[in-house]
Subunit: 205 residues, 2 copies
């Protein structure tokens, strides 16, 4: 089982690394690979850099795909190389996951048409405006539409990851991962404490 | 205000990136820098690599220091270069934070002598055995001893980070960061749901 995370410049750190912590705790049950348009350094929105192992051209086959969000989503909505990589790879995956504004990229690629999905609450319109044929949910910690699972903002991705681990690897292993990482799992996809901030996007100041 | 995170090979992803997400959400109030013994790629325990901006020799002055834990802690307990970097830099910091087994490194460096501290619950003995003169707390999400703040395993670091943000930057900003990252803050340092797993260290299987 191989999980590929698609990094791009100005990605949000926890969108990627919260889920990767949970999947990584599965040990030799999974291989984690990092992908970007070109292999090499990719800056997060707050500075710290990730090193992408693969470019779009040489990325291996992927069972699971993770797409983080972040301020960098906005320019990527016009990046046909990234959108085409998603169009090519996501339909072949067992599960494709997005966190935060990552669902805007999936919607723009046309991959969420006819499906239910969610996104970051404070910046919800960014995702909604990318897909008229998506059933957007304004109140959901995450939405499991089968092959595509989309989560709300930042921390919600970690809760979604545990739900996908439970579905793919079983409840016992999800519980072990939770305890190993001392993580208090928000288990209910429909319980969304942050829906109250819908489109009130402000950065701390 | 500058926060330096000390990376080493086989660090635990969320130990570093949970807190860095929270501090990063402070925007231009803080600069995040990444440090390792040598600048360049550093592998996490599950594969994905971070790029360290600075080596120990050229790291800039640091107001805040973050030390992640992970399986990589064990060899680093014998790494005098890292221990000396901590001995040199942490006493000059406003706040030094450790996550998980990161407190074993602080204890080994002698920096926690006479202070209260905690560590990862499943692997508690690893930290305790590094410092006979530390007041080790077996049940604590995190322990704030002033200049040194130590947290329990993995996810607990994110809760500690919000507590340090509250102390250094104020409660209003901590609340904004929590909402921006859609994070449900575990606010009580003494409430430790994972103390029940003391020294029962097992990896998911």
């Amino acid at each position: 089982m191989r999980l590929g995370t698609v990094f791009y410049h100005d990605f949000e750190l926890l969108d990627a690394y919260g889920p990767l912590e949970m999947f990584g705790a599965l040990g030799d049950k999974i291989e984690l690979v990092t992908i970007a348009q070109e292999a090499g350094p990719v800056s997060s929105s707050v500075g710290p850099k990730t090193l992408a192992d693969y470019g779009f051209d040489d990325a291996p086959a992927l069972d699971l795909i993770l797409i983080p969000g972040g301020i960098g989503t906005i320019p990527e909505l016009k990046n046909e190389a990234l959108l085409n990589f998603l169009r090519q790879r996501c339909p072949q995956s067992q599960v494709t996951m997005s966190v935060c504004t990552g669902s805007a990229l999936l919607a723009k690629a046309g991959l969420l048409d006819g499906l239910a999905a969610t996104s970051n609450k404070m910046f919800f319109e960014l995702a909604r405006s990318q897909g008229d044929n998506v059933e957007w949910r304004e109140s959901a910690r995450w939405v499991d539409a089968g092959q595509y699972v989309t989560s709300s903002g930042v921390s919600a991705g970690t809760d979604m990851a545990l739900a996908v681990i439970e579905r793919v690897f079983g409840a016992e292993l999800a519980e072990q991962v939770m305890n190993y990482t001392e993580y208090q799992w928000h288990r209910h996809a429909d319980d969304d404490p942050f829906a109250q901030f819908l489109n009130q996007g402000v950065t701390p100041s």
